[in-house]
Structure formats: C-alpha cells, structure tokens
Symmetry: C2
Subunit: 355 residues, 2 copies
C-alpha cells in the first residue's frame, strides 16, 4: 500500500487518545495508563494489528459489559514456583502485566517461575510479555489461547484452533532479542490489517474449507480456514500451547473459545502462561549476553542465498520500527483514522488531530 494512504501520528498523541478513551469508558486512570502504554508499545514495535487498531473494538466491548472495568485480579501460589492468576475478566493487558511481574518476582526467589492465567482477555502481541523478563536478565517464555478460532487441526475444517502465539525473549548486549510467532502461517491481526487496507493476501494463507481453493481477498477470509505455519507442525503446536495456556489454567480452548470479534458481551475466559528463568542461576548474565552477541554477529555475517540482500533476525523489525516510529510517528491507515475520530466524538474526548 502506498504511503499516501497512511498518516504518521506521534506516539505521544496515540497514547493520550488511548488513555483518555479508556478513562472515558470507565477504567481507573492507572489501568488506562497501563493499557495505553502497552498498546502504544505494540504500535511502536510494528505489531500494527495489536495497538490503537484494537481501540474501537476494546471500547465497544467495555461499553457492552464484555470486560470487567474494576477487576479484582487474584494471584494464587499453588507451589513455591507456580501461580495461577484469575483475571476476573479484566482487560488482558492489565492481567498479563500483573502476571508477568509476579513471574519475574517469583523467579528471583526460585530461579524459574511458571504463572498460568485464566479469566483474562486479549492482551496484545505476545512479544510484549516475553520481553519483560528479558529486561530483567531473564528468559521469558509466553503463550496464549487466541481469542477466536481461525484454524482447524491439520486436515480438518472445523474451526477449533486459534493462532495461539508463542514468544521467547532473551537479553543480549543490544537489548532483548524477541521471537514472537503465531502458530498460523500469518497472525490474524495482519489479516485484519490487510482487510482494512484493502490489500490482497498471498496464496497459502487461507483456503476454502469445502474446495481447498485459496482465498486471497482479506475481506472474505471469514469464509475460509487459516492455515498453520509449517503444516502439521504449526497445527500441533497450536494444540499443545492451547492445552497448556488454556486447559491447564481452567481457561477456554477449542469449542469453548469465544470469538471476541463477533461477540462483545460474553466473558472470553482467555488463558495465557508466562515463564521467567533467571539467567544468573546458570551463568553470569554478562557472559550470557556476550555469548549471544557473538552468535548474532556470526549469523548476521553469514553468506546469503541468491536474491537475499540482508540477514534478518528475530526482533530486527521490532527494533527498527521502534526507532523509526518514535522519531516519525505511528503510521495509521485513513479508514482507522476515521474510526478513531468517530470514537473520540462519541466519548467526547479530544480527537487525534488536536493532540
């Protein structure tokens, strides 16, 4: 899509709009701040399907009573190194940041901590939560049950699996190295972005469930089946991560998943898990970082296949995006700007253009 269809908006402005929209919709100020910060971080790091793009949907859900505005988030320590967080149907960003902070604090005592989460909600890109332990000298490992089932099991067409993402973060000398992957061939947020921007999807993303023929019109993706990454392997990973992030925590999976795109009212009972591993319990953190740096240099210096201009490693786009967008602003598509202006008008808050 050409740059003419995108308008760069300073992150300061998008963040303020998000915060004010949440406050106007009944969230306590500190909670609105937390959500605005994490959603802006998603926008800055290029997770375009997970930042301000989601604001109209979140606000609609808050209005409809689908989120609990004043959740009583409860943390139960089942064992010295495990906890189960009950999010009381609060905003996913609030629940997951609480859970991740708890995991980091616990891992400082026990070396590793595994925190499961139930009764949460959509919490933005997986990378956000894998990065937090990495910022504290830890390995972060995060997975979630996605908030809609767009995939089938391998060979099947019943929509029983989500894009259940996996993120792994480790510290390096250049800052956290983050892998954030959906177990589908592409993240559904990306499909939504394509639809909103009127872009054609590559073949191999969606197929018609009855004929197996490819679907390339992003606005017709709901008629088909999203394919897993790496064929049966991605489907298998979506299943196992779903069992561990969902079933283990008493959260929704499979047939019980609520499609939060279609339903603004029902509690989603979203499940996640976050694991934090304290690197210093294995070797000095500085040794770990310098060894990671050495290996990354080797990978970057690799000879390349014909037609490849540059080696890209996990998180490179994240880091570049962050630098570029902090300087130039977050590129927003015109149809999204129209929705955000309408939202500001309804909530009686200052529109983006005046911020």
């Amino acid at each position: 899509m050409s740059g003419a269809d995108l308008v760069n908006v300073p992150a300061r402005a998008t963040r303020a709009l998000i915060r004010d929209a949440f406050v106007a919709s009944g969230l306590p100020e500190a909670d609105a701040e937390t959500c605005a910060e994490l959603m802006t971080e998603a926008d800055l790091t290029g997770a375009d399907g997970h930042g301000i793009f989601r604001l109209p949907q979140y606000i609609r859900r808050l209005k409809a009573g689908g989120f609990n505005k004043l959740p009583n988030i409860k943390i139960t320590r089942g064992a010295p190194a495990t906890a189960l967080v009950d999010g009381d149907n609060g905003m996913g960003h609030l629940v997951m940041s609480r859970a991740t902070n708890e995991a980091i604090a616990m891992a400082q005592e026990t070396g590793v901590a595994w925190v499961g989460v139930r009764r949460s909600n959509h919490a933005g890109p997986a990378g956000l939560y894998a990065e937090m332990p990495a910022q504290h000298g830890m390995v972060g490992l995060y997975a979630a049950v996605a908030n809609a089932n767009h995939m089938g099991t391998w060979g099947g067409t019943d929509l029983l699996l989500g894009t259940n993402p996996l993120a792994i973060g480790v510290p390096s000398g250049e800052g956290p190295l983050i892998l954030d992957i959906a177990t589908s061939i592409v993240a559904y947020g990306t499909v939504k972005k394509y639809a909103q921007r009127g872009l054609e999807m590559p073949k191999g993303w969606f197929v018609n469930a009855e004929t197996g023929a490819p679907i390339t019109d992003a606005n017709r993706s709901h008629e088909g089946l999203l394919l897993p990454m790496g064929e049966y392997k991605g489907a298998g990973l979506a299943l196992m991560l779903g069992l561990v992030a969902g079933v283990l925590n008493g959260a929704a999976f499979g047939r019980d998943v609520v499609d939060f795109n279609a339903d603004d009212n029902s509690e989603t009972n979203t499940g996640h898990f976050i694991v934090a591993v304290d690197i210093a319990r294995f070797l000095p953190l500085e040794t770990f970082k310098s060894e990671v740096d050495r290996h990354l240099r080797d990978l970057r210096a690799s000879q390349r296949l014909p037609g490849v201009d540059e080696i890209r490693l996990p998180g490179d786009r994240r880091a570049e995006c962050r630098a570029e967008r902090a300087r130039d602003g977050v590129p927003l598509a015109r149809p999204l700007l129209v929705l955000l202006d309408k939202l500001a008008d309804e909530l009686k808050i200052k529109p983006l253009a005046e911020r």
Copy 2:
C-alpha cells in the same frame, strides 16, 4: 520403499543387541540397559532415525573415545526450582534421563522445575524426554541443540543452526499426548533414513546454497542447506531454542557445534533443557485429563478438507507404531542389518538373527 526391503525384528532382539554392544564397548551394565531401553523405545514409537539405526555410530564414537564411558554426572541446584546438569561427556540418553528424573522430582516440591544440561551428547528423539513428566502427571517441555548444523539462519547459507527440536508432552486419558518437532522442515534422522534406503526427498527439504535450486537426492544432502519449518519462523525458533538449550547452559551453539557425523573424537558439549510442570498445582489431574480428552474428541470428529481420509493428532503415529511394532517387530532396512551383523562380529556378540 517396498516391504521387501525391510525385515521385521522383534524389539526384544534389537534391545538385547544394543545392550550387549554397549557392554562389549565398555559401558557399565546398568547404563547399557538405560541406553538400550530408550533407543528401543525410539524404534518402537517410529523414530527410526533415533533407535538402533544410531548404534554403529555410537559404538564408533565409544571406540574413538568421543564419549566418556564412566561419566561422573553432576547436578548443581542453582536455585530451589532450577538445576544445571554437567553430563561429563557421557552418553546423552544417560545424562538426559538423569536430568529429566531430577526435573520431575524437583517439580513435585516446587511445582515447576527447569533443568539445563551441558556436556551431554545426542540423546535420541525429543519426545522421549517430554513423555517422562507426562507419565508423572506433569507437562513436559524439552529442547536441545542438535549435533550438527544443517540449517542457516533465514536467507543465510552458513551452516550455523541445527534442527534444534522441541517436544511438549501432556497427560491424557489415553496416555501421554506428545508433540515432537524438529525446527527444520524435516528431522535430519529422516534424511539419513532416506539416504540409507535410497529414497528420493521431496522438493523443499534441501536447496543448493549457491543457486537456491532444490536437492532431492538424500545422499547429496550434505551439498546443500536444510530448510526450516515455516520459513523464518522455524529459523527463529531454532535460534531461540539453541540459545536457551545451549548458551544458557554453557553448551555449544552456532559455530561451536561439533558435527558428530563427521567427528568421532571431539567432545560435543551438547545442551538440552527439560521443564516439568506439576498439573495438580493448577487443577486436579483427572479434570485436566478429561478436558484434554474432550478436546481431542472434538478435533478427531472434525469435518475434513477434500482428500483427507482421517484426522491425525500429535503422537497418533507414535501410539500406532508402538502397538504394531510391539506385536510385529521393528522394521529394519537390509543395509542396516548388514551393518549390525558386521558390528556384532567385530564386538564378538551374538548377531540379531540368533536372538
């Protein structure tokens, strides 16, 4: 390949040959038993590249002094819920079964345990170790740095990444449900099996590093580059798992990996990690199992894409293979039988045919 090229041998016989070969090569009897049991389990569950197939290579390495026959395996508890195992260059099966048993015992106390391993060796299929916690009512999560680099980073051709496998196991009413995937498009053991059996590889497994053209002759795979599963996602996962299974434990990764196919002498310093999570700390084990069973029933009953006869879930082939091979024997290719007869002759132990 036609059935005529394969001979079914009772698992009892392959297991006895493996055990005797190890004892004749200097392993203590109990250690030979452990290795034979795990390698036979690999054969029974269909991990054909990881069972008796590896015996000639292991024996060659034992003779060459590449393995420590009498390792002093040391376990250091860095924190209440973490440990680092130093395998003292013993056989990988011994080191990893010790590490996994330790993780299970620790997780009974702390709810979760993360055990890293260094100075180990090739330990067979990843699924073996993810299954052990699942047999004890736990989630098992295992990864390893593979013992040769057959992949590059995405777009790169320097062989800096292994097929670094990931396995996840959970209990179900029908027994453990195990996902065991290489981060390459296919496990290298499978490529070795294709080469030994003279099978042609599908396009998309290997490419020529200079031209990018596909390689389909399994005996020429060493001239090329093994591709990751799911393109950049598999390469990213191989990298991150390698950092956590390797670098975190002070084990080899990247440029430091010893290709144990080419080198029988040098210590490989193989790294792994195993995580065990005690399900009962989150919900009653029976509830977990019955919920898993319910979801598996839904998946199996799914409508199917055109041309798909049956829904296959992770571990189905494992379970079927195990039943079939326990009954009918382990199918071994004639070239492998020739190698095993030669080995028995050299070690002055009874050949397979007499067992």
